[in-house]
């Protein structure tokens, strides 16, 4: 099993600024939201359609799937438009949410450890997710959506503060 690292050429320190989003991430979000919307519609709308309009189940399911994919794709577009992750010299600032929006700042000094996560598709596309673990109570684990692998590795190294007692404990 290979270790998650980038090639040496890419290992320059990360400059503060907006973290790039991997182009495939939009597709992943769309797929994800389409699935949820389709499931929701299949559970709620299909029984109603079949009961009150007498539509055949298969047609109703197909309709739910189509509507779910349309909704999911639109929602993913809105989500991507409102999502941003910025690496600052002293922390990370994450904006996310479509209806309920949130802006979250986690200082570098407060980060306990970081995780890089890669699924099979991520490996194929050279993409990775970074998860930040802070010492707080309600926000102890903060995910950063798909970034190019090289950036994820740079970010991991840039975010770890190795001084003792820097976390306010």
């Amino acid at each position: 099993m290979s270790e998650i690292t980038a090639t040496p050429m890419q290992m320059t320190p990360l400059a503060p600024g907006q973290l790039p989003l991997h182009p495939r991430m939009h597709f992943v979000w769309a797929l994800n939201h389409s699935l949820w919307f389709s499931l929701l519609l299949a559970a709620v709308a299909v029984p109603l359609l079949v009961r009150f309009t007498g539509m055949p189940i298969l047609a109703a399911l197909l309709l739910a799937l189509t509507a779910g994919v349309c909704l999911g794709w639109t929602y993913a577009g809105r989500y991507a438009a409102h999502y941003s992750a910025v690496y600052l010299a002293d922390g990370v600032l994450i904006r996310r949410g479509v209806w309920w929006r949130s802006e979250l700042f986690v200082p570098r000094a407060r980060i306990q450890h970081t995780e890089i996560n890669q699924g099979p598709l991520d490996r194929r596309w050279n993409m990775a997710g970074v998860r930040i673990h802070a010492a707080g109570t309600h926000l102890e684990s903060i995910p950063l959506a798909g970034v190019p692998l090289a950036v994820a590795v740079q970010l991991r190294d840039a975010l770890l503060d190795r001084r003792t007692h820097a976390d306010g404990a």
Binding site: W100, E103, F105, Q118, A134, G136, L160
Partner: protein, 468 residues
């Protein structure tokens, strides 16, 4: 093994076969998963890799590991392995769990982690050897404990718990439990009607009975308070705080002052009736729920006068008094939004009740002015304060609470906007702190004007990142 037994002696039902397949797959999965688990030690951090298809690589700096716990059950000991948990200062879960580790490897890792700890981590032993003078900050006499008992009403909780337990374990059908007091009352009323008492006597007697039950509960609360906190003393010894008391079992907790996190002040209606408050603290260290909480400091003052709380805040943290803080109000229309949902609820409730019971249902409309009144009261008291060292928040109406946190102890800052917030140009600010009760109260300041919220967010972010 169970799979083989099933295969030999099962009656060949299809679900048994499915169960076998499931069990084998599960065993295979954990076997394969364990192949994917690797750890590596670099000069100042531990790297843990997990997963086969979904791979995760975790980097944990040594400086962040505060607590190491080793655990072996019978199976572990049989195979000469052990489980190791590495915990950091905060969070609710350990940073890393190594379920099966050779004992020699575990010992080597623990030794390495111990060696890498810097002198600042070795706090307890060195400082206690010096034994600085003890200074008593607060001592609760019996009279205060009586007040604490009257306010806390722990007796009610205990009785409710006992009743629930009795209900649960009663060998008779559960309803018989309820039947006992009902029979009593019926019997009494039977006697009452037999003796032809006047209405006044009956009402008076009922009131007396209720009063007696209430008094008994309060008495129980007082007894519990005395048992739990008898001789409660808060004292400072150098840079450590210690507090404890109790009649039968003496509970004592202590912590270094710089490890105190959020301070909570509570002021319920009963507190205010007695002109008292209570003061609690969160203390950093150890994942919550992972290690025992017995030695942890919790109460700074179960009950104290307002002046005593102010003195304690000044003595322990050099904090300004609660009244001296510059309290800032929420958005001028905060009360409207606070009242909105309960107003809607009461209108619908009234409509429903009227439909069902006629004009009597209109009585529920009283809820509408009530919700406006209580929302105005809430918005009138709820405020936040920010000075150069502290963030404070207070909220409530009849029952009030205060929360106070040092700015350099903030872990994260969040600015949130719901769709309703956006329509009213408002936002809320929440901060996260270490070792708080996940279900307990936190600082989450709602209904701020959006510009003010942005400014506050910028200041808090700057301060918790250590930029001054």
């Amino acid at each position: 093994m169970p799979a083989i037994v099933l295969l030999l002696f099962g009656r060949g039902e299809w679900w048994e076969f499915l169960a076998i397949v499931g069990a084998v797959l599960l065993a295979l999965y954990s076997l394969v998963y364990s192949f994917g688990f690797r750890y590596r030690i670099s000069n100042d951090e531990l790297v843990v890799r997990e997963g086969i298809f979904d791979r995760t690589e975790r980097h944990i700096p040594f400086a962040r590991i505060q607590n190491i716990a080793r655990r072996s059950n019978l199976l572990h000991r049989l195979f000469g392995v052990t489980e190791l948990r590495l915990e950091s200062g905060g969070g609710t879960k350990p940073e890393a769990v190594m379920k099966v580790l050779r004992v020699s490897d575990a010992e080597a890792l623990v030794a390495l982690l111990r060696a890498s700890r810097t002198r600042s981590m070795v706090d307890v032993d060195v400082e206690q050897a010096a034994t600085p003078a003890k200074e008593v900050l607060l001592h609760l006499p019996l009279s205060e404990l009586v007040r604490f008992g009257l306010i806390s009403n722990r007796g009610m909780v205990v009785v409710a718990g006992a009743f629930a337990a009795f209900w649960q374990f009663s060998p008779e059908q559960p309803k018989s439990v309820l039947r006992v007091p009902i029979n009593w009352i019926a019997q009494m009323f039977g006697e009452v009607s037999a003796h032809h008492f006047g209405l006044l006597t009956v009402v008076g007697g009922g009131a007396l009975l209720l009063f007696l039950a209430f008094a008994a509960l309060r008495l129980l609360s007082v007894v519990l308070a005395i048992l739990g906190h008898y001789g409660f003393t808060l004292e400072r010894e150098g840079d450590r705080l210690g507090a404890g008391g109790g009649l039968l079992t003496h509970a004592h907790g202590s912590a270094r002052i710089d490890r105190l996190q959020m301070l909570h002040v509570e002021e319920s209606v009963l507190h205010r009736l007695f002109k008292r408050m209570s003061l609690k603290t969160d203390v950093a260290g150890g994942a919550r729920g992972a290690n025992d909480q017995s030695g942890k400091l919790h109460w700074l003052a179960p009950i104290a006068t307002v002046a005593q709380v102010d003195t304690l805040l000044a003595q322990v943290l050099a904090a300004p008094t609660l009244t001296a803080l510059l309290w800032r109000p929420l958005h001028a229309r905060a009360w409207r939004r606070r009242a909105r949902w309960s107003r809607v609820f009461w209108l619908f409730a009234s409509a429903g009740l009227t439909y069902r019971f006629g004009a009597l249902g209109l009585l529920a409309l009283i809820g509408v002015p009530w919700s406006v009144w209580s929302a105005r009261g809430w918005a009138g008291f709820t405020r936040y304060a920010l000075d150069d060292r502290f963030l404070a928040y207070r909220e409530g109406w009849w029952s009030r609470r205060y929360a106070l946190i040092e700015l350099d102890k903030l872990q994260a800052v969040e600015l949130k906007q719901s769709p309703f917030d956006r329509r009213h140009a408002m936002a809320s600010i929440a901060v996260d702190t270490m070792s708080a009760d996940p279900l307990g109260q936190r600082i989450d300041i709602p209904y701020l004007p959006v510009a003010e919220a942005r400014a506050l967010f910028a200041v808090l972010a700057r301060r918790c990142a250590g930029r001054v």
